[in-house]
């Protein structure tokens, strides 16, 4: 009888990839922390839903070492549609021809890098906890830090209704899952990591007016501008356009925005090969522009959540 087969699904690959990265990192003595996705759910900080990939933040000094080690097992960088210039990327995606999952290696988590990636990682590491994924113990930030990372991630992409729903779940978790000391830790470390500015729209809902008034925002004007650009794709492109040197570089930005090639579209997130095949390149371009305009309109609305208890308004 045939007892063993080799095909496995994404929902199976994702927890196993967590275990694999943890094991490889432990062997190399590289510090890694799993964030978002499965570990966030394991800590009951958001509702369970299918997870898309594996997100790892690691000791920035050991980034290349872990990437090289994973390359030995067939993991390589996913080709990206991103412009080849502009700000430094905070993460890379690794793929493997036999694994139905991406592993995202993060140098830092957007919104939490302003005190310095190393400082941020060291603080996260100091408070790390273990959770079990695929019957294997993996390292993850403590619940307060995990929640902070989850919130910053949602705020960065708050142009999507899904992320706003997730922010509401994080608000519920802040009040119902975190202990009083964990809530205080989140506030203290948001200040220490200069993350108050990035987290402010959510903190205004999570904290009382008095607590909000007491928050110390240590961010500098340039850091605030960096975050604004990170959360507003059109503004970021405009900034990139202005900073591009030479007509050719400026033309490349415009072409990428308004008339990307089929090859560029194929590499973009949210554009599938099926879309390109059935709709055609031109319709996909138009749909992308329409979606960007809709997201911009949605993003301009004030962030609010419709569910979850809020401490912002005294009961």
């Amino acid at each position: 009888m045939t007892l063993i087969s080799l095909n496995f699904a994404s929902s199976e690959a994702i927890p196993l990839a967590h275990a694999m990265v943890q094991h490889v990192a432990t062997e190399l003595q590289v510090r890694v922390l799993f964030v978002k996705g499965l570990t966030l759910q394991a800590q009951r900080l958001r509702k369970e839903r299918p997870v898309a990939d594996v997100d790892v933040i690691l000791d920035p000094a050991k980034f290349a070492q872990l990437e090289q080690a994973l390359a030995k097992s067939g993991w390589y960088r996913r080709p990206s549609a991103a412009l080849s210039f502009g700000p430094e990327h905070h993460a890379i995606s690794l793929i493997n021809d036999t694994w139905p999952v991406d592993i995202d290696l993060h140098k830092w988590m957007p919104g939490m890098q302003f005190a310095g990636p190393e400082t941020c990682f060291d603080l996260l590491w100091e408070h790390r906890v273990k959770v079990t994924v695929a019957h294997f113990a993996v390292d993850t930030p403590c619940p307060a830090h995990s929640l902070m990372i989850g919130v910053a991630h949602c705020l960065r992409e708050h142009g999507s209704p899904e992320k706003r729903a997730e922010l509401a779940q994080h608000l519920t978790a802040f009040n119902e899952v975190l202990s009083a000391s964990e809530r205080q830790l989140l506030i203290t470390h948001a200040e220490e990591l200069s993350a108050v500015y990035a987290l402010r729209p959510w903190l205004e809902l999570a904290l009382t007016p008095r607590e909000n008034a007491r928050l110390r925002d240590r961010s500098t004007p340039s850091q605030r501008e960096e975050w604004r650009l990170a959360t507003d794709a059109p503004a970021k492109l405009w900034s990139t356009f202005k900073k591009s040197k030479g007509v050719r570089a400026k033309f490349e930005v415009l072409q990428w925005v308004f008339w990307p090639t089929r090859e560029q579209l194929a590499l973009m997130p949210h554009v599938s090969a099926y879309d390109l095949e059935t709709l055609g390149t031109h319709r996909v371009r138009l749909r992308r522009l329409k979606g960007a305009l809709a997201r911009r309109k949605f993003r301009q609305q004030r962030i609010s959540v419709t569910s979850g208890p809020s401490r912002a308004t005294p009961h």
């Binding site: 009888m1 063993i4 199976e12 196993l16 094991h23 097992s73 695929a134 113990a137």
Partner: protein, 119 residues
């Protein structure tokens, strides 16, 4: 990888306890009766891939908690409504195959068979 066979001759098969090895990650889906197991030791050197256990292989995997070859076989035989002696060699072959891949190992029954970190 003949450690199981060697051990059998020394100690006696009935006394050997099969158990999941250290550093093995796995996910199980009871509804679809499958388990995907991933032995992590040596993945850097040998590019090891996860193994998907379905049907009778899944039944053997789930029966591992019963420990000895006889008890595992009895459990699987009950599920498939067959006589244990009809399947014991297939069960043993699978266990030895899994052992060669670093998924399971044997230990005398008297020894604490624990050792899988995260269970």
């Amino acid at each position: 990888m003949n450690s199981a066979i060697d051990s059998v001759s020394l100690i006696g098969e009935a006394e050997l306890q099969w158990t999941i090895s250290k550093n093995v990650a796995f996910v199980e889906n009871e509804a679809s009766e499958r388990a995907v197991v991933f032995p992590l030791n040596g993945i850097q050197e040998h590019n090891v891939q996860p193994l998907v256990l379905v049907d009778s292989a899944y039944a053997v995997w789930k029966a591992l908690r019963h420990g000895t070859l006889q008890k595992i076989t009895a459990q699987v035989a009950e599920i498939y409504d067959v006589l244990p002696e009809e399947i014991i060699s297939s069960v043993k072959d699978l266990l030895i195959s899994l052992e060669s891949r670093g998924v399971v190992h044997t230990a005398p029954q008297s020894v604490d068979a624990g050792g899988h970190d995260a269970q």
